[in-house]
Each structure stands twice: as C-alpha cells, then as structure tokens.
Symmetry: C2
Subunit: 213 residues, 2 copies
C-alpha cells in the first residue's frame, strides 16, 4: 500500500489536449491545491494518450504530485505513473496489481454498497464512490446521493474518494458525511480559472476537517 494524499483528486477532462491547454490547466489545478491528478482519456488514440501522459508525468513530478492513469495499465507502465484507476468495466484489480506491482497505487470505482464491501477484499489503495450528484462528465452515471456515500465511508476499510457533480457549492455536504476526499473534473476544468476553482475547493476541504469525528 502506498501513502497518498487523496483530498483534492483532480481528473483531467477528455475534451482537453496538449493543443487546447491541458498542461496549463492541470498546472493551475496543482497550484490551486490538487493533491493528485488522474489522467483519463477514453476516446483518444494510444499515441496521443502516451504523449499526454508523458507530459503530465513530467509536470506532476515537478510539483511532487502523484499521477494516476485511468484504465490503461500499459500507459501507466510506459510513463512510470504512480498508479492506475480502474472502473468496474476495466481490467480486474488483481490483474492490474499483478502487472504494476505493490509499489504503485491502485484505485477502483464503486457505485453500490455491495461493490464497496467487495472492494474491502481486493488489493486496492482507495475506492472512488459515486456519482454523488448528477454529472455532465458521465451522462450514464449511477446516482448514489449523500446518504449512500455516508454508508460507503462507514463500510469501506480503504480511503473513499467521493465523485460525481461535486463543486464548491455542494462540497460541504460531501465532507459532512465523513468523506475526506473529493474528486472533480468540470468543477476545475470548466471554470474560467482552474487555479481559483481548485483553491476554493481546497479551502473548503481543509475547513471540512472540523466535521470529522
């Protein structure tokens, strides 16, 4: 298991590329307080994914921030990323762990409490849980809501990262469940200033500590 600060977990927007400001926006997210970057690309060629992951790894290393690759274990190995995040329709986590080894981070998306309980038996370092709120990033996402997130945090033996439609307006309600970690895409990358958006979220997350038992 790898020690990792998951508090402000920023996932890249598929619509961004090296040509359209991906690096500059991720840099702003990091300077605003992102504690980890996940690179997610489902509809790009492997060549483009490799180029972007290579550039992101260099950027993240500059700031000492871990880079996690969504789904593509080969890309993670190729760029020596810090970990891999998989969903329920991706490679099984046991297979991912076997390929990348124990020195790397493995995260798993969960959508139901059954999946949270199952994840307790799997070689993962953290789980994502959601969608907590409706999201425009994944239109077919299963909606879990705040109360189920509260249950997920209680049930999980791993750190839980809340995901799905979280922004500066609703993040307090997420933190009040006891969940300490928040993943965002559009709250940062659709903002006029990804820096300010990340900074505001980070401030709320840091203040959110007072709700914890």
């Amino acid at each position: 298991m790898v020690d990792i600060d998951l508090r402000l977990y920023v996932i890249t927007d598929e619509n961004l590329s090296l040509e359209t400001g991906l690096m500059e926006k991720v840099r702003q997210a990091i300077e605003g307080g992102a504690t980890v970057i996940q690179y997610r690309a489902k509809n790009k060629s492997s060549k483009q994914i490799y180029s972007e992951a290579t550039a992101l790894k260099k950027l993240c290393r500059e700031y000492g921030i871990p880079l996690i690759i969504n789904d593509r274990v080969d890309i993670a190995v190729a760029v020596d990323a810090d970990g891999v995040h998989v969903g329920q329709d991706d490679l099984p986590v046991e297979v991912v762990r076997r390929i990348i080894g124990n020195g790397k981070i493995v995260g798993l998306s969960t959508k139901t409490l059954e999946q949270v309980v199952e994840a307790n038996t799997l070689p993962v370092d953290y789980i994502g849980f959601g969608s907590v709120f409706p999201t425009t990033t994944k239109k077919d996402a299963t909606l879990s809501g705040i109360e189920m997130l509260r249950e997920a945090v209680k049930l999980s033996i791993q750190p839980v990262v809340a995901i799905g439609g979280i922004n500066a307006e609703n993040v307090d309600s997420v933190l009040q469940t006891g969940c300490e970690n928040v993943a965002v895409v559009s709250a940062v990358f659709s903002a006029d200033s990804p820096f300010k958006a990340a900074q505001l979220l980070k401030q709320k997350i840091l203040k959110g500590r007072r709700w914890r038992v």
Copy 2:
C-alpha cells in the same frame, strides 16, 4: 526476434464477441490453417477485452498458434500473449518493446514506403503493409495497391504481411508480388464457413510458393 509463421494471419472481427461465436469462428479459422491470430478490439470495455483475450489465449495455446494483441500492451501482458501489434497511432514500438521484452513479437502497421523504411530501424519482428485493396473493415484506410506492396517487400528487412481487402479471389496477385504473408478479417469471418474460407486461402498461399524467387 521471435520466429513466427505469418503466412495466414487472421485478425478477429470487432463485431464478434464471446456471446456471438468468437471462439467457434476463431477455432474454425485455426483448423482451416491460420498460422497466427491477432485479437483486435477497439470499441469494447477493458473488462470485455480481457475476458475475450483470456479465452483466445487458451484456444490458441491448445493449437500451438501464437496470439497477438492489437494495440493494448496491458492486455497482452495480462494474458501472456505472444506479442503486440501496433499501428502508427498507437504506442511507439520502442515503448512496446520495453514493456513486453525481447521474448515477444512486436508488429507494426505501415501504409507508406517511408514508414516501411523507417520500420527497418525499429525493434519490430514484422510489418503489416496496406491497405492493398479497398476494405470494409477500416473504411478510412489508405489504399496502397499491389505495385506499392511489391516495393514494400523489396524495401523491408522484416517479413511483410499484406493486409486490406484480401480474399481468395485476389490473393494470388498479392503472392505474385513476392509477399509471403497475408492478413485477413472479413474474408474469414464474414464467410459462411470460416473453416473453408481459411482452408482455401491457405491452399492458395501454399501453392503461391512457386512464384517466389
């Protein structure tokens, strides 16, 4: 470099799955004379790709036929496939080679004579060249034609596998260029009997030896 019989190189059809006869049709292709199977899936989830690749590896091992995975190096590692085939928009072959090691096969698609010459300097075991003929499998494929294939075979220091719209009617013209290896998708998988389609192609390829210098 790995010694591999590339003469009848059968690539799986994206439209087939475990539920719609993928295994049975690939088995027929092998029994008809396929010398190598490439598993290609671009629009399936990683979970499905992993399941199918696992089943195909088992089947190919049963017959002593190598299994090559298109693009996804992680899947190749996960199922211990015999190699990886990449296109010009996939991971760079140097990166593929670094991940899977020297004991595995690496193939590269080429579309132009410049790419053929460049491939001579790369750590690949063979190249694909085409599309030789118009193909329905890749609608945006670059058409090279028979004469350019003849040049590719002369220029390449690696074995060349002709690809694109090749079937029993036109395979002789391919073999007459000096190309000894033929890749097919629909000629086998769109046939009523993949077994008979593969067998007919294989017979023509074996007879085609007489054209070789």
